[in-house]
Amino acid sequence: MLNFTFAFLLQQVEDNRFAQMRHAAANPDLSKFLWIGALLFIIGVAGVLTRRNIIVIFMSIELILNAANLNFIAFSRYLHETGNANALAGQIFTVFIIVVAAAEAAIGLGIVIALYRNKETIWVDEIDLLKW
């Protein structure tokens, strides 16, 4: 990743066109969004796998979902620029995902509250009812 960044910077420096650099920063191309999305996804997965607080796990899941949303938006914009007529589909998908995530959050938090009332804990390593 670092190699890539440096190469990018070097290229800009060598070209010596700062205005162009600014333009590029204002109009990032597709790969940058994908990199951000991938980072968000990895952070989310890591959070789900490593954190013990169920609320945090929940937040990590939201990160994963938003990583996907970001990808959708990015591709939508990319397709729009390349003149594809169906470019709006990605945005619609994103709206759907936000709605579903909201619903999921409502249900999930309800479950967490119910769990807490029963088990007096929100630490996932203390919840092993799925065990055989």
């Binding site: 796998l49 796990i57 996932v124 390593d125 799925l130 065990k131 055989w132």
Partner: protein
């Protein structure tokens, strides 16, 4: 009125349906059942009379053209058969086509051309034709079917009325009249159908009803056996009939009478020694007629059929059904006259049956058996007439026989009824005093069957014998005449015997009552030393068995109790004294007696032309004039011309050349070739007068009838002991006749026993070999399955169980450990799996 004749068969069917379907359920009373049955038949009779009148005598009379109901729209395509290959009789057809072709070519030539022509080339195609066979359901009214319609419905009506009295008190009253109505329907379809297939339907229908009615007392073994015997024997005949119908369709491509006979009349005549398709068809038809009309090889069922109720015997086994064979032979006279061989066969079979049955009738003791053999014998006379080419006379005899034989059967029924179900004539005698109506009406029938001059039987029987003597259709006419004359003598003898034993002489029923020990002893004493009395054996009559312990003594002390237990219908009787029958029984007798007396006047023979001033007096009312148009004339090769009603005498003489071939024709000789010695012609050669010759034969037949009656009177009235003496002197003949020439025994040995043996052998084969194979295979497969089962149980299951146990022991801790219950472990596995999937999917791009 002709257009309503479809109602004639339908009405009895409706009556039968009402009685048969509702009679039991709604417990119809006897008057209601009888009223429905008699009413439907009476309506049929009235419609028949009206239809025949308008057909033959009305303003727009169509006689003699056949009237088909399809002309007025009553017909439907009953069997749409489609195309049939007409592949039989092609030689004859080719010959006809060649002849026609030749005649056309000759007609087209001028006389000069004709004289110069040396030869003409004509051709015909022998490729099989195809015809469109559609069998329609329509009724035909023509001279022949009209006579049968009137006989069936008229005599049937009398018998129905009689049966309401005779069957009074029977448990199956509704059933009886349902069957009888069904029979009327079938018989009317038989005689009124317009094609062979309809005739076959009626033919089978009457066979079925005959079976049902013979077996009416189905709880009695002999009735059940007799019905089966009748049915099976008729099957043999029906087989021939069915083959003949197939032959007709394969030869003419149609089953409609009018089509078939129009084609058949052009076919060449097959003389003696020639045997073509028409002979085959005629043979099949005659086999059918033999079965239905009880001719010689197949006659055995008719005497046994007397196990049915007496009105059934009168209607089915004397007046109508058994004459269906005659109807069929006369209907197809075109075909029969084309085969001289079959004509000879018909005549000889008829003659043989006549003498055979007449000689058996002499020694029978059951009153109905005597009448049954008499019927067989008279049917033989009718076939004799057909065989010598006098089809009209055969039908004439059918008619007169229907009158006098129905009369005598009903009279016998009246006697049986009056004698409280006693049928053995040896226990009768002197009934004249007790049953005057029955006696006097029976007397008319007796004189008619013996052939005494003004009575109906004389006219028809004498004409049969005269035609046999003068026939030019077949050789051996003199032999047929001789046999017929002897049979007529026997007829007069046994009918006189019946009269004497039943109505005259000692009142033997007073000497010993019916049934019981004393009765057997009496019967044995009657023909002491002659033969074992057959009362110990089951008789074929409709006499109910006396139960053991039942009171059969000479006088009933307690009449009321006796009536309650016997159920004779409530009429009074003390010491089994006979009594006259109720009016519902003797009125039909009186009607039939009148017919038996005057019925013959429609057929006064040509011998009386000096008196009647006509060859066939009466115009269309004369049966010969009426029926002649349905008879094919071999010399003109056309149907006989109808005599105009305006001048019957003149017409006969004018139309001499075409009609002369009928009875005493010189032209007929050329058609059928030289037929050898002809009795009538020889006599005529010495008397030089046709009229004198005819009178000689009339006198002969009267004399033989008189001899028969005198002998009967001598043996059974004036010198009763003579009967036993002569029976002893002619003991072999007597025993043979008494045992009916052992025909039943022979059939039992030759056919029934063989069939049973074959059945038993087949059964043994089936039970031992076929079943053995099957059972052996079954036990083999059981053994095999036991082995397989053992392998399965111990070997396969063992392996499976072992593996299962191994997996269970070894693997379960491993898998159990994977189930930590922590959601994050599962999520980790998911993510790892996702990564593996990504690696697998993108391996090519990454590496």
């Amino acid at each position: 009125m002709q257009k309503y004749i479809w109602l004639v068969p339908l009405l009895p069917l409706i009556g039968a349906a009402i009685n048969g379907l509702l009679g039991r359920k709604f417990r119809f009373s006897e008057p209601l059942i009888g009223g429905i049955a008699v009413g439907s038949v009476a309506l049929s009779f009235l419609i028949s009379v009206a239809a025949v009148y308008s057909y033959g005598f009305g303003g727009h009379a169509e006689w003699p053209k056949p009237y088909l109901t399809s002309q007025d729209g009553f017909s439907f395509n009953w069997i749409p058969g489609g195309a049939v290959s007409v592949n039989q009789g092609s030689e004859a057809r080719i010959q006809i086509e060649l002849q026609k072709n030749l005649e056309e070519r000759l007609a087209a030539m001028t006389p000069e051309e004709r004289s110069q022509t040396k030869g003409i080339l004509v051709g015909a195609s022998d490729s099989p034709r195809f015809a469109l066979l559609n069998i329609e359901w329509s009724y035909q009214l023509d001279p022949l079917s009209s006579i049968f319609m009137l006989i069936v419905t008229g005599v049937g009506l009398c018998i129905f009325v009689f049966a309401t009295g005779y069957m009074h008190g029977e448990a199956g009253f509704y059933r009886f009249f349902a069957y009888m109505g069904l029979f009327m329907f079938a018989m009317l379809v038989l005689v009124m159908g317009s094609n062979f297939v309809m005739m076959f339907v009626g033919w089978e229908g009457v066979g079925l009803c005959s079976y049902l009615l013979i077996g009416y007392y189905f709880d009695r073994q002999e009735a059940a056996n007799a019905s089966r015997k009748a049915f099976i024997t008729n099957r043999i005949g029906d087989f021939g009939f069915a083959l003949a119908i197939f032959g007709v369709i394969a030869t003419f491509g149609s089953a409609q009478y009018t089509d078939v006979f129009n084609q058949a009349k052009g076919y060449p005549i097959e003389l003696l020694g020639q045997w073509g398709i028409l002979s085959w068809i005629a043979l099949g038809l005659f086999v059918g007629a033999c079965g239905k009309s009880a001719q010689l090889p197949l006659h055995v069922w008719l005497p046994d059929a007397m196990a049915g109720p007496t009105p059934v015997s009168a209607l089915i086994h004397a007046a109508t059904m058994v004459t269906a064979g005659l109807y069929m032979v006369t209907r197809t006279n075109v075909i029969f006259q084309h085969s001289q061989t079959m004509l000879l066969v018909v005549a000889l079979v008829g003659a043989a049956t006549a003498i055979f049955a007449a000689t058996i009738g002499i020694t029978q003791n059951d009153i109905k058996k005597v009448l049954a053999y008499s019927t067989v014998s008279q049917l033989g006379f009718m076939f004799m007439a057909c065989g010598v080419g006098a089809f009209v006379i055969g039908i004439f005899h059918v008619m007169t026989h229907a009158f006098f034989k129905a009369l005598m059967f009903l009279g016998a029924g009246s006697v049986i009824h009056g004698m409280h179900h006693e049928q053995d004539m040896r226990r009768m005698g002197g009934l004249k005093k007790y049953m005057p109506y029955t006696y006097w009406t029976f007397m008319a029938g007796w004189l008619a069957i013996c052939g005494i001059i003004p009575f109906s039987g004389f006219w028809s029987k004498d004409e049969i014998l005269w035609n046999a003597a003068s026939t030019t259709h077949i050789p051996l006419g003199w032999l047929v005449w001789l046999i017929g004359t002897i049979a007529a003598t026997c007829t007069a003898f046994y009918m006189t015997r019946l009269m004497a034993m039943t109505f005259w002489g000692r009142e033997r029923f007073l000497e010993a009552p019916a049934g019981g020990e004393a009765d057997e002893a009496h019967a044995a004493a009657f023909d002491k030393g002659l033969t074992q009395h057959d009362a110990l054996r089951p008789s074929a009559g409709d006499r109910p068995r006396h139960e053991p312990g039942e009171h059969v003594g000479p006088v009933h002390e307690d009449v009321a109790d006796h009536l309650a237990t016997h159920g004779h219908g409530g009429h009074e009787h003390g010491a089994h004294r006979p009594h006259e029958s109720p009016p519902s029984m003797w009125v039909p007798l009186a009607v039939l007696a009148v017919l038996a007396v005057i019925g013959g006047f429609v057929g006064i023979g040509p011998a009386f032309r000096t008196v009647t001033r006509s060859e066939h007096p009466g115009g269309r009312l004369n049966i010969v004039t009426w029926l002649n148009p349905v008879i094919w004339n071999p010399s003109t090769r056309e149907f006989n011309a109808a005599e105009g009603v305006e001048a019957p005498v003149a017409e006969t003489e004018h139309a001499a050349p075409p009609t002369e071939g009928a009875g005493h024709a010189e032209t007929g000789a050329s058609v059928y070739g030289q037929t050898g010695f002809n009795l009538a012609h020889s006599v005529e050669a010495s008397t030089h007068s046709e009229l004198a010759t005819e009178w000689i034969f009339i006198i002969i037949s009267l004399v033989v009838a008189g001899i028969g009656m005198l002998l009967g009177g001598l043996f059974y009235v004036w010198r009763p002991q003579l009967a036993n003496i002569w029976a002893q002197r002619l003991r072999p003949l007597y025993v043979a006749s008494y045992n009916k020439y052992w025909v039943d025994e022979f059939y039992g040995w030759a056919v029934t026993r063989r069939t049973m043996d074959a059945a038993r052998a087949v059964y043994a084969f089936d039970s031992r070999i076929v079943d053995g194979i099957v059972n052996g295979l079954a036990s083999l497969s059981r053994l095999f399955s036991r082995i397989v089962g053992g392998i399965d149980k111990y070997f396969v299951d063992g392996i499976v169980n072992t593996i299962a146990a191994f997996i269970l022991r070894l693997m379960s801790p491993l898998f159990r450990a994977a189930q930590t219950g922590f959601a994050q472990n599962y999520a980790l596995v998911m993510v790892l799996g996702l990564m593996v999937a990504v690696v697998i999917f993108f391996a090519r791009d990454i590496f």
